[in-house]
């Protein structure tokens, strides 16, 4: 589904800086992959490349047999609003719109019929448990609700790949757990591939596979077994192995 092939990113400047070197990564359809690594390891750069916000210096990124970086600006915009969904740390909802309006925004831009839009919004809102706040404005809802709205917005057009950048970064532990449950549920039910960048070992433990990056290179990867608790422990061990103290890497929450 998503194939990242020998991708490098060099930031030119007075001192060129190699943010990523020779990254290879494959995400299968319906797979949930988490990317972890210390600050400055290149996680966000990788996500930006995959999300077509940035272009790789060398290497190739393929999504559903399409190479988004060769598309024109306009094609790229269409590509984003049909193939990709985004969830951000700071929700990125428009303050001037209501919850429902925020949710249907990708469909509106695509020019879908109002009736179809409303129906889809209703369905996904029910699934995410936000149908009671549809007509509220964004500033009237809590962080957890806001992130659920953002997820709804990211999923409403049934993208083939959902990209999440620290989706739990701004949430308390209860809300984090809810959001992660929802993401996994959607991932399983809708067979949407999910790629998540996170600092949070707890959040990462919901994934099928965690990839660790350090200094712009793939460090290692661990697969989830049957038990999420042991997976979580493995992630913590891996993080401490990679350097630094565990407490520095994440605010660990034990459930």
């Amino acid at each position: 589904m998503l194939k990242v092939n020998k991708v490098s990113k060099v930031y030119e400047g007075k001192v060129s800086y190699r943010a990523l070197s020779d990254i290879d990564l494959t995400v299968e359809k319906g797979e949930f992959v988490a990317i972890m690594g210390p600050s400055g390891s290149g996680k966000t750069t990788l996500l930006n490349l995959i999300s077509t916000n940035d272009t790789p210096t060398t290497g190739k990124i393929m999504l559903n047999d399409q190479q988004p970086h060769t598309l024109s600006k306009n094609q790229l915009a269409t590509f984003r609003r049909t193939e990709l969904g985004f969830v951000f740390q700071d929700f990125n909802l428009l303050h001037t719109l209501t919850v429902e309006e925020n949710m249907v925004l990708p469909l509106t831009l695509e020019g879908i019929k109002v009736k179809v839009m409303k129906e889809k919004a209703r369905q996904i809102a029910e699934k995410l448990g936000i149908d009671s706040i549809m007509s509220k404005r964004v500033y009237e809802i809590s962080g957890g609700q806001a992130q659920r709205v953002a997820i709804a917005r990211a999923m409403i057009h049934q993208p083939s790949l959902l990209l999440a950048d620290e989706p739990t970064g701004n949430l308390d532990s209860k809300a984090s757990k809810d959001v992660m449950h929802l993401l996994t549920k959607l991932n399983k039910e809708e067979k949407t591939s999910l790629l998540m960048v996170t600092h949070d070992a707890q959040a990462a433990s919901y994934s099928d596979r965690v990839i660790f990056i350090r200094d712009g290179q793939l460090e290692s990867e661990i697969h989830r077994g049957d038990n999420r608790q042991t997976f979580f422990q493995k992630i913590i061990d891996m993080l401490s192995l990679m350097g630094g103290e565990t407490s520095e890497l994440s605010s660990i929450r034990l459930s």
Binding site: K73, R81, F86, N92, T96, E101, T108, L109
Partner: protein, 629 residues
């Protein structure tokens, strides 16, 4: 780094934030300086002092206006920096320090904008003087000079202005809590609501105001002026604060409009931005209306005066001797005109006609021309010749410029019969309306054979008139000939080109000053809008970054920005154009004179300027927003 250095660096290293404020200050200085530049021109010392008094008074008006304009610019500028002040306060800056900082900044910007404004003014000085020369119709050339007086006055007035305005900072920055400052650009606002009652009231007031303005005629226009202005002003205020928001909300509630592609992004913001900017829009609309009406009035008055004169004087030169008793003087003076024309090498054709003034009815005196004379004169100005049968008269009605209230002259003349010697009478056959012979009471044209039979008893007086048509004259020739003709008493001779020239010379300064001030009002109204639009640009960038991530085409981005800017830029101007149009229509009712051409020219001209403004603003705005993509 001491505090002064900090303030200094804050400006010099952060140019983008300051540039709008700087530019509008500089522009104001430039305008004021250019105005003084020619108010103090040495030429005006020698001509009449009333021109200079007028100019200086206008200069004072511009100064007062500049004061409010710069104050407004500064407060918008400071509003957009609230967060920065909040940050400084959090770091421990005291209120006094922040005020001191803004004070230093203001002095810095003030000094530079004053200096640059003066320099730019000097750069354009020659152009301005050339324009002034042509509009003002001054005999002497306005040569370039080094305007020490203007420089010094501008320098002192604006430095003082900036110091005084800096003191107002305290009012602008009277914020309560630190949190409010820091979160000033994050606190989401409730969706603005519009009251239905006030929205309807706005529409109603505007309709009533327009209705009155368009229906009153003549002197009533003056009486209606103040109530109409008040009604329309209140109406306009509610139009922007209530009705516009109401309309947007109404459109938003229509799903098929709101959920249509990029409309959702456009409309979601619109009601907020309209409400936020309502006062600015109101002000801009009112200022522009004043500018339109003032310029339109001056311009209309100008054509009203000149067109009227031209219409009743179709001949280049006309000479009339109202009695037959001084044939020598007449011969001498007519010869003088001929010889002047000849010596100047001006080609001219002339005709002499007789006019009999007949007392029709106890002092109601009507000029009577014979057919051959009428036709001679008609040929001279290219009017069709006419044929009058014996026993008939043709009535030549008043010219359009002379028509006033009451019945037309022809209606009165139709009722009269002209008595001839020996029991004959002439009956009116038809009415024509030409410029061949102008008279308040209209005139009769009769057959040559009948003309000799006019009884001496009913004749009030007879007169001989000589008309010349010359080739097109240059301005210098007009002045030379006109001055030469001043030898002859003005009630006997008139030279239309010279008369128009004199009107324009007298009227020029008023027109020029009016245009100048009108233009300043209008351009600064445009800058208000520009300012408002650009203070929001950072918020807009944020929004567009967000939406672009979801997938927004560049064409769509441009479309949204264009629509949004167009609404923000044109809604106050369209309102002002309609106000101005109504005002000028009322004016034309007052004068009973058609001002359509003048109104169209003035309003069209402003529309073009505004269009240019819009294109520029759009260009820079899109450039700014695209930079983040």
């Amino acid at each position: 780094m001491n505090f002064r250095q900090f303030a200094y660096r804050n400006v010099t290293r952060n140019k983008r934030t300051y540039v709008a404020y700087f530019l509008s200050s500089m522009f104001t200085v430039m305008v004021f300086f250019s105005f003084l530049l020619f108010a103090f021109h040495p030429t005006f010392e020698t001509i009449n002092s009333s021109v200079r008094t007028g100019l200086l008074t206008s200069g004072g008006i511009i100064y007062v206006f500049s004061f409010f304009y710069i104050l407004y610019s500064m407060s918008t500028f400071l509003q957009s920096r609230k967060r920065e002040f909040g940050l400084l306060m959090m770091l421990g800056a005291s209120n006094t320090q922040i005020k001191a900082m803004v004070f230093i900044e203001n002095l810095l910007i003030g000094t530079f904008s004053t200096m640059f404004g003066i320099s730019l003014g000097l750069l354009f000085a020659k152009t301005i003087l050339l324009v002034a020369e042509n509009v003002l119709i001054i005999d002497e050339r306005l040569h370039f000079y080094v305007p020490f007086e203007a420089i010094i006055i501008t320098l002192i007035s604006f430095l003082a202005l900036f110091v005084i305005i800096s003191l107002f900072v305290a009012f602008v920055l009277r914020t309560s809590r630190l949190v409010a400052l820091i979160k000033s650009d994050q606190t989401p606002k409730k969706e603005p609501k519009a009251s239905i009652f006030l929205s309807v009231l706005a529409g109603l007031l505007l309709a009533i105001g327009y209705g009155i303005a368009l229906t009153v005629k003549g002197v009533a226009v003056v009486m209606a002026l103040i109530p109409v202005v008040v009604i329309v002003m209140i109406g306009t205020y509610f139009f922007f604060t209530q009705l516009s928001v109401f309309i947007v909300r109404f459109l938003k509630r229509r799903d098929y409009i709101f959920y249509k592609r990029t409309n959702i992004i456009l409309f979601s913001d619109l009601s907020f931005r309209l409400k936020d900017n309502a006062r600015t829009f109101f002000m801009v609309a009112m200022i522009s209306t004043v500018a339109f009406s003032a310029i339109g009035t001056l311009f209309g008055l100008h054509s009203y005066l000149t067109d009227g004169v031209i219409e009743i004087n179709p001949y280049s030169i006309s000479y009339k001797m109202d009695s037959d008793d001084q044939p020598e003087i007449m011969a001498e003076e007519v010869n003088y005109i001929h010889s002047q024309l000849k010596s100047m090498g001006v080609e001219a054709t002339s005709e002499t006609i007789d006019v009999a003034f007949v007392d029709m009815n106890e002092g109601y005196i009507v000029p009577v021309l014979k057919e051959s004379d009428y036709n001679k004169a008609a040929k001279l100005i290219g009017e069709p010749i006419i044929d009058v049968g014996e026993g008939e008269t043709i009535i030549n009605d008043q010219t359009v410029a002379m028509i006033s209230d009451g019945p037309k002259a022809s209606e009165t003349l139709m009722t009269f019969l002209i008595d001839l010697e020996g029991d004959h009478t002439l009956t009116p056959a038809k009415v024509i309306q030409t410029n061949v012979f102008s008279s308040m009471n209209g005139s009769y044209v009769i057959n040559d054979a009948d003309y000799v039979k006019l009884p001496k008893t009913s004749m009030n007086r007879t007169s001989k008139q000589v008309y010349w048509m010359t080739e097109e004259l240059s301005r210098d020739e007009i002045v030379e000939l006109g001055e030469a003709l001043e030898e002859i008493p003005p009630y006997r001779v008139s030279m239309i080109d010279y008369t128009v020239f004199q009107i324009e010379r007298g009227y020029g300064p008023a027109l020029f000053v009016g245009l100048f001030i009108g233009l300043i009002f209008f351009v600064s109204a445009g800058s208000f809008l520009y300012f408002r639009v650009f203070t929001d640009v950072d918020k807009e960038k944020e929004k567009f970054t967000m939406v672009t991530k979801l997938g927004l085409k560049e064409t769509e981005l441009k479309k949204i920005i264009t629509q949004q800017l167009a609404i923000l830029f044109f809604s106050p101007i369209i309102v002002a154009l309609i106000h101005g149009g109504v005002a000028l229509t009322a004016l034309s009712h007052f004068f009973d004179y058609n001002l359509i051409n003048e109104s169209a020219l003035v309003l069209g001209g402003f529309t073009v300027i505004q269009l240019l403004y819009f294109v520029l603003a759009r260009h820079f705005y899109i450039k700014q927003v695209k930079r983040i993509l």
